[in-house]
């Protein structure tokens, strides 16, 4: 108890001196959060030695002395598996780190020389950086807090496009045999919920991202618990609210509603309260290329998912008071990851496309006067840019290894500056190839624009 209090107090002092930064690394599943965090730790560990961080001002001026992992504040949360991730990158052949299956934390301490000596305090200073990794699936539960069961059911069924509905067919047929007021026994409920979960899993396999509730995809320690046995009820509308609320407690509607509320209160809220409320900076990672590969319906699905997601964070200007007691995100980076999967001349297009994908949240952020910048980055650069001569003109190309180890030299194609018509996918579509990580060298991991993103996110703290 005393220990914890001291800890809290130390945190408070650090925060008041603005020497602590909580960085939210946000991204849906497979957006590259783990790779980003691994690369971030790696770059900062190698800063000043062999990391290429030329766009990070403090590193360019050779003031950044390095970083160390220190013990995290919350000892109940697993540590971010940096070493495991590095091992998978080091293995031959190298492979990408395993997808995250649970929450983990990481605290980094950065030491740097201040630009001007600070009198008695000497000229070195430290900055504590708190990072959290978590499964992207769970992130989509945050918007759930805005809903009650009825409005959630409606929103879920409305947002299903024709392709999504194909996966949900079995579940819909099964649930159609019941009405909201009948009593359904436990095993049938479990069966229906399993149908729903299966439809979510199939949709994820097919590249959809706006999938709620997230624990259905990755239950963690809740596997098989009744709290995960609910689903949206088709055919209910706001008009029926009165009649539905009057149904007996054993009715299907009331049972589902109870479980939904329980899920909100005991699964989502603690997750939100413990990990998501207090952030100072945020980077939103988006796998734009993957969404382009998947098709127009999935692309819009992603856009919708990101829009609802970003409503769950607090944005706004900081002052001393709210820095201490209710931190807000006062600066934001949005990043199109896997930029190494296209040639450098397409990066500008990638950024424009990302901006159009996030157009709605960006408007809100502008209104809140929170600076936003879009980047195209690759946490771990898997390819090398070359130039080939084809049809008598020189053209950039990428060299690397495919996921199956086959050596590739490709021009992956142009990136559009805005979303093409749905017909385009039927006509041509996109086929951005996936690459495996580069062969390991003891030097820092190669990257694209990690340094620029770091400068934007914490450059002002490293003065």
């Amino acid at each position: 108890m005393r220990r914890q209090l001291t800890h809290e107090f130390q945190n408070l002092i650090d925060r008041s001196r603005d020497r602590q930064l909580r960085l939210a690394v946000t991204g849906l599943s497979r957006a590259g959060k783990t790779a980003f965090l691994t690369s971030l730790v790696n770059q900062l560990r190698h800063a000043g030695i062999d990391a290429r961080l030329d766009l990070l001002k403090s590193a360019r001026e050779e003031r950044l002395l390095g970083a160390q992992r220190v013990s995290q504040p919350d000892l109940g949360v697993p540590r971010f598996p940096y070493d495991e991730a590095m091992t998978s990158l080091k293995s031959t052949p190298p492979h990408w780190p395993e997808p995250t299956r649970g929450i983990s934390e990481l605290r980094l301490q950065l030491r740097y020389k201040t630009r001007r000596a600070r009198g008695l305090l000497g000229d070195t200073a430290t900055l504590t950086l708190d990072l959290i990794d978590y499964p992207g699936e769970w992130l989509l539960d945050l918007p759930l807090l805005e809903h009650d069961f009825l409005s959630w059911s409606q929103a879920q069924l409305e947002s299903m496009g024709p392709e999504r509905q194909r996966y949900a067919r079995t579940w819909q047929d099964a649930v159609a045999t019941h009405t909201a007021d009948e009593t359904v026994d436990e095993s049938r409920l479990a069966e229906l919920a399993e149908h729903y979960a299966a439809s979510l899993r199939q949709a994820r396999e097919a590249g959809f991202s706006h999938l709620q509730p997230g624990r259905f995809l990755l239950p963690g320690d809740l596997q098989g618990a009744p709290v995960l046995q609910f689903f949206p009820l088709p055919g209910v509308t706001e008009k029926d609210r009165q009649t539905l609320e009057a149904l007996p407690a054993s009715s299907l509607y009331q049972t589902l509603k109870k479980r939904f509320r329980f899920y909100q209160q005991h699964v989502v809220k603690p997750f939100y309260r413990e990990h998501f409320r207090r952030f100072d900076r945020q980077i939103v990672l988006v796998d734009v290329l993957g969404a382009l590969n998947a098709g127009s319906e999935r692309f819009e699905d992603l856009s919708r998912a990101l829009m609802t997601l970003m409503r769950s964070f607090d944005y706004g200007k900081r002052s001393l008071l709210n820095r201490l007691f209710s931190p807000r995100i006062d600066r934001l980076a949005i990043a199109a990851t896997k930029a190494d999967h296209v040639t450098p001349d397409q990066h500008a297009n990638l950024v424009t496309l990302l901006e159009s994908l996030l157009a709605e949240p960006i408007k809100d952020l502008r209104y809140a006067d929170v600076p936003v910048r879009a980047f195209s980055l690759a946490s771990i650069q898997a390819t090398e840019t070359r130039e080939v001569e084809s049809d008598g003109r020189r053209q950039p190309a990428l060299r690397g290894h495919g996921l199956d180890g086959e050596p590739l030299l490709v021009y992956p194609g142009d990136v559009p500056t805005r979303l093409p018509e749905p017909e385009f996918w039927q006509r041509q579509g996109f086929a951005f190839t996936a690459f495996r990580p580069p062969p390991f060298t003891p030097a820092a991991l190669p990257h694209i624009r990690m340094d620029a993103a770091l400068e934007w996110l914490m450059g002002d703290k490293l003065r």
């Binding site: 290429r52 030329d54 766009l55 360019r60 930029a339 450098p344 500008a348 840019t385 694209i448 624009r449």
Partner: protein, 344 residues
């Protein structure tokens, strides 16, 4: 007494005349396939810029006189050399040889001037291009940033093996955008030169202040100051890779002065206010010190302006050297002078 008059209704004899001076265009329908250009509204800012710009003068007359003199002088000297060679008059032959030599030297000097002027113009053009592409719109660079960087390198007269260029090359990567390239150029190539230029300006302005404070003659002050200022301008330009000739120096000097004259009003007010204040303070020491400080500050301002004018990439808002920093240093120089004077 007559009855009250009953109401009366008037009729319009003729319909009200339509305001026939207003004519409205009717709708017009074009075939959707007809070629059309993007609509462009008239932009008045170029006109405004052009009005503020100094009128561009082509000194054709001056060039004609110089060129004519040179050409005629050559013919004259050649002719007299020919006749003296025929007549065996060696002395006049030697004179005409000398004349030819003089004409040749003059032509060389003129060519040099013209070349340096052109160099200055090229510098300005590159600067404009870098401004347009590297600052305004980060993602819409028309030219490859690496190509522009190389052009800048050759304009600044750096060899490919120069350590600054090499360190830039090591830092620069193919995927860097124009804005990022600009940042790296500013750090690796311009920052050392900025530092040197700032040191130079500090030293020069301090020395000017002291010199004016101790010099006994006003006329000497003035000529000393002018000479030192021009020398400073020369060296700042050389730092950023500009070799100045007579005409180009004059041109650059005029440019710097014009920039100073048309500096933003707010900047001038703060600067001038602080200048006055410190001059008053200095005048408390002695009136000569006040004058010295004034002269030193003028030199400093000229130096900073020259840096801004000749630097190939405009300063970022935060990184620009400020007069306030220099003021303190000039002031300290004078204080030191005063202290030694009191002790002595």
């Amino acid at each position: 007494m007559s009855d009250p008059r009953p109401g009366q209704r008037f009729t319009f004899d003729e319909p009200p005349t339509p305001a026939d001076d207003v004519s409205l265009n009717g709708a017009q329908v074009y075939a959707p396939t007809q070629a059309s250009d993007p609509y462009s509204a008239d932009d008045d800012s170029p006109a405004l810029d052009a009005a503020i710009e100094p009128p561009r003068k082509r000194r054709w007359g001056l060039l004609a006189i110089f060129g004519g003199t040179l050409a005629l002088g050559t013919i004259e000297a050649a002719q007299s050399l020919y006749t003296s060679a025929l007549g065996g008059d060696w002395l006049s032959g030697a004179w005409s040889m000398l004349g030819l030599l003089a004409v040749g030297l003059a032509a060389k000097a003129l060519a040099g001037e013209v070349w340096r002027l052109r160099q200055l113009r090229r510098h300005a053009r590159l600067r404009q291009q870098l401004d347009d592409e590297w600052i305004d719109d980060t993602d819409n660079a028309r030219t490859d940033p690496a190509t522009l960087a190389d052009e800048l390198r050759s304009q600044m007269g750096l060899s490919r093996d120069h350590p600054h260029w090499q360190s830039f090359l090591r830092a620069h990567q193919a995927h860097h955008t124009a804005h990022e390239t600009r940042e790296l150029i500013a750090h690796h190539i311009l920052a050392p030169r900025d530092r040197a230029a700032r040191r130079l300006v500090t030293r020069m302005s301090g020395e000017t202040a002291v010199m004016v404070a101790v010099s006994p003659l006003t006329l000497v002050d003035m000529s000393l100051m002018a000479w030192r200022n021009i020398a400073m301008l020369d060296r700042i330009a050389a730092l950023y890779g500009l070799q100045l000739g007579y005409a180009s120096r004059l041109k650059l000097f005029r440019e710097v002065l014009r920039n100073m004259a048309f500096a933003g009003a707010s900047e001038m007010v703060t600067d001038a206010g602080m200048d006055l204040l410190s001059m008053n303070l200095a005048a408390k020491l002695s009136s000569r010190a006040g004058q010295g400080l004034g002269a030193g500050l003028l030199t400093a301002r000229l130096g900073l302006r020259a840096m801004r004018t000749t630097r190939p990439i405009a300063f970022e808002p935060g990184e620009q050297p400020r007069l306030a920093d220099l003021r303190r240093e000039v002031w300290q120089q004078l204080r030191r002078l005063d202290d030694t004077a009191e002790k002595g």
